[in-house]
Symmetry: C2
Amino acid sequence: MKRIITISREFGSGGREIGVEVGKRLNIPVYDKYIIEQVAENSGFGEEFVDSVLRHSGSHGFASSRRKNKINGVNVDDLLYNEESRIIEEYAEKESCVFVGRCADYILKDRDDVISIFIYADTDERMKRIDEVHPDKSKSAIKRIQEKDNKRAFNYQYYTGRKWRDPTNYDLMINSSSLGFDATVDYIVELFKKA
Amino acid sequence: MKRIITISREFGSGGREIGVEVGKRLNIPVYDKYIIEQVAENSGFGEEFVDSVLRHSGSHGFASSRRKNKINGVNVDDLLYNEESRIIEEYAEKESCVFVGRCADYILKDRDDVISIFIYADTDERMKRIDEVHPDKSKSAIKRIQEKDNKRAFNYQYYTGRKWRDPTNYDLMINSSSLGFDATVDYIVELFKKA
């Protein structure tokens, strides 16, 4: 049976890697950055620009982008988000797959074949993880966590009008540091098979 | 292996029944109202009074109780909550069991044998459920949900300083209307066995 899994995740929770592993185990596509490539290709904008607009980061950043990004009266935020939504809906329609991030839980909220999951973790574990994997040590792990979480929360609310960490938006919220990476993957795979 | 399960739950989510069923399946005690009976017995206060103080409901209600409930300078809230905490810790120390509500996730937060779970559900499903089971129809289901949720959130924050629906407090948050009652019970039972 066809099922769509959406994964939203805290920075450093391992949510992305969990999504990728779930996709591998189920042999279904995992969409993440690929969506950005598609939006860039279809819109003609550069990948980096598309990414920074859709995440409200970089020089287009955080809260001011709606005002800034107008080209001939067209709101570029809306334009890119609408194209992103269209692409996500198209992939969801086609076959079973996993979406990581990109407000996919919201974009696909009216479908009844979606399992929406939020992955979080204890701050200590997230810090440890970020220290392990992040090459740039100029910023502390806790600072990165705060900045990323704030951006994701802002971004999610900006596009969806919902609160990012609110259970209402999800079928399941898993603390990956309590359950562990493997058990979390196992559980999502089982859920997919049973649903 | 000994494991403690704590279940916090939204009103109408079926969280209590899920806790009871998990206890049955694992053949371990489920503590809920029984804690109140023990606090009443140990403190000498009546059960109804203990319950209303600890839930900030009834005439002792909501936000004003800290000021009201003083007897000879002793804060009755604190006294009863401390006794409740002591009892919960005592039971948790003894054997595997399930606690439903009572801020048990917070009271037992420093133990490493605890699986803390939050059960929630879609508002539509909660309303349907309440309409089915609640004998008194003088108040609408949505009104009951709002009142109960507000009280539980207030109460939880009053005693723990934490936000009730914040993922940080839990190992797992399950939407029982997405997963269904049986799958939710199954999953918690599996988690207990694997942990």
